[in-house]
Symmetry: C2
Subunit: 423 residues, 2 copies
């Protein structure tokens, strides 16, 4: 069969210029998150298929790249369905593997455990501009801390990182899954309908309050319930932080659980005086976050300048329990790594502090011991921190030097066989 030059559909080859930026950002992520006491770990890129299809990953479970069984285990003739053919799948996020990892190694890890993960994930999504089927995720998670110190530390860590990448004037939108549920209950929705209601609520940015109202009514919910729901959002308009929480408390009375209100209020109280980056922490009662595993606080980064989200996370206190039988508090944040790289590339971002670059051009036919001497000189420069590229001199030396200059090699030394000078 003919060989194929293009990468597989939806995945990309990374060229040197982008790779340099990716490496720089990865270094900054590691350095910043480590300064908050996160330690890096890694899980395999493949997981048992049963771990990936356990109804925690929402829509992502439909997008799994599945691994064919091998050897005797593969019995094509007897296979009745896809499930009989596969035993593994590529991870679609880093959260489910982390829960497995933590349950497998609890006794070897500190408590609370602050984990940093950087790695590829795979989703067989329809490819589009900026959306790939293999992409990097960079997650921080705090496992074993029931207090909202975890939320505060996650928000401070990721906003510090965004600040170092020169992002300014962004929002961290914050909400609580319990708040979402309490508001829906107050309005009169039934618990079985919450998820469908939230899917519509999630469109608030796009279709506005009237659009949400209309969609809810069209979906068959009682007008009275929908109006009471919409009123909550109306009364919150223009109010932020504790003022918004006070308004909600007034309206909802004991339908607003204290712990849920206090949780957000405390996070505001701690993060606002401690923050160093240029952002606002914004209570957003319309923030939903798709994954069904969230149990408490949820948050999302909104880059106003680029009108886009750039990561999010939340508390998922029940996922680890699915592996161990015993719930472990957990809270995490996943940064939109590919989104950040795309923005930096569009901005024409330059990696700071590139070391000096020198090229040695050696005329063809030079005797070996002289070439050895020249390489020895290159080795000394390299040991001292200079990048040295050693090349045979091309016939078209002018063109070669132009190419080298374009690649950043402005210091070029030429070595000729006739002369012992030139070094």
């Amino acid at each position: 069969m003919a060989l194929t030059k293009k990468p597989v559909k939806g995945m990309k080859d990374i060229l040197p210029a982008e790779m340099a930026i990716r490496n720089y950002v990865c270094g900054l992520i590691r350095e910043t998150y480590e300064s908050f006491g996160f330690t890096q770990i890694e899980t395999p890129c493949m997981e048992h298929i049963e771990n990936l299809t356990s109804k925690q990953g929402g829509e992502n479970e439909k997008l799994i790249f599945k691994i064919l069984k091998r050897g005797e285990k593969l019995n094509l003739a007897a296979a009745a369905s896809e499930e009989d053919l596969v035993d593994g799948g590529m991870r679609y996020d880093l959260t489910v593997p982390l829960a497995r990892y933590y349950s497998n190694h609890t006794n070897e890890l500190p408590s609370p455990f602050k984990a940093l993960q950087m790695g590829n994930v795979w989703r067989a999504d329809q490819p589009q501009r900026g959306r790939f089927r293999q992409f990097m995720q960079c997650d921080i998670d705090i496992l074993g801390d029931p207090s909202n110190m975890a939320e505060c530390e996650l928000i401070l860590a990721m906003t510090t990182l965004l600040g170092k990448l020169d992002f300014k004037d962004f929002n961290i939108r914050i909400n609580d899954r319990r708040m979402l549920k309490a508001m829906a209950a107050y309005a009169g929705f039934e618990e079985k309908d919450y998820d469908s209601v939230f899917i519509i609520l999630d469109k608030m940015d796009k279709i506005g309050r009237d659009g949400v109202k209309e969609e809810l009514i069209n979906a068959g919910y009682a007008e009275e319930v929908v109006m009471r729901y919409a009123e909550l959002f109306e009364k919150l308009e223009g109010k932020a932080g504790d003022a918004a929480l006070d308004t909600l408390a007034e309206l909802m009375g004991d339908k607003l659980p204290d712990d849920c209100r206090n949780n957000l209020s405390e996070i505001f109280g701690v993060v606002n005086p401690a923050k160093t980056a240029d952002f606002e922490l914004v209570f957003d009662p319309t923030l939903v976050r798709g994954m069904s595993y969230y149990t408490g606080t949820i948050f999302e980064v909104e880059l106003k300048e680029f009108n886009s989200s750039c990561g999010g996370g939340g508390r998922y206190d029940e996922m680890i329990g699915r592996f161990t039988g015993q719930n472990t508090p957990a809270c995490g944040f996943s940064i939109g790594f590919e989104r950040i790289i795309t923005i930096l590339l569009e901005k024409g971002f330059q990696v700071p502090g590139e070391a000096g670059k020198t090229a040695f051009l050696i005329e063809k036919g030079m005797d070996m011991s002289r070439q050895g001497e020249i390489l020895k000189e290159a080795m000394s420069l390299r040991a001292a921190g200079t990048k040295v590229l050693v090349l045979k001199m091309a016939k078209n030396k002018k063109f070669q030097k132009e190419q080298l200059a374009a690649d950043g090699y402005t210091d070029i030394k030429e070595f000729y066989k006739e002369s012992l000078q030139g070094g």
Copy 2:
């Protein structure tokens, strides 16, 4: 279905202590190779199945993790064989993907192109101690350079790296596929038998010269041919470098091609005066290297102290041509990353220069604005380069402090709600 705590068979979770060493080594690899003018690139972890099964990967092609087709493309009822079910596979090395990458991006890359790749590869091998089904490879390749400056630079780069990792007194065994063929031809083997003969020759380390002779005779080759072959190796015993090449030239006359002899002689002539690490470059006429894609020089690192190989490579001038229709000279070296990590772990290697680590313990129930002040203090220390872990004080503070100390947090500050001191 129940969830599984263990990683999939043959793959491993990486704990924080190992991860710190891996990150350190990766940093050193990048820094060292970049000083030689290599630039990092990346290809997707998945490849088109036809690229992976094109008979270039030798035994590795039997070990591919294959990706099930998705959606309409998967037709289980009509599938007659495995091939009908899959459209992709996990890469088993970084060389085949590099050849695809280079053929896809030739016009965007400098020539020669010095590529650095660091990434996972997958092989469904029988797992055993130190051998995993997902493992890191770190490759350097020089594409577009027909001269043996490429070989010299690869050898100098990887030996510099091993030197920085404190490996001493190791060998770089070197040979040339053309030399292997010339010696087999001189002895009288037929070209069609070369691969089988080389598989037996490759066992010289283990079974010795007599063992190789015996196996060749048992395999049905004429005794006269086998004896002439064995005599070559006998006459080379105790001879190194140019002396060994001179002996071969004497014995073989014009059966030893000049370019092949000169190639090795030139590499000795350049590398020996320029090298900085503590190693010997050793001509080894029994070095075979398994991959069928090699066309010229081949080499392998031998760590004498650990009695093991730790990487290897060679020239493969014909692989890129399989994608483009036009051959491009290419030479590469792949380091045994996992082997190096295993050795460093066994040596009790410590990552040098860890920054200071401080833990803040905050008593429970402290008011939020005070907590905000404490986190602000943590933020300043972090910005100045100190790792600061902020935790709620545990009930058993003594145990908590012992755990923190074991984790390197020897500087511990305690903050109590009754007092404004302690910071």
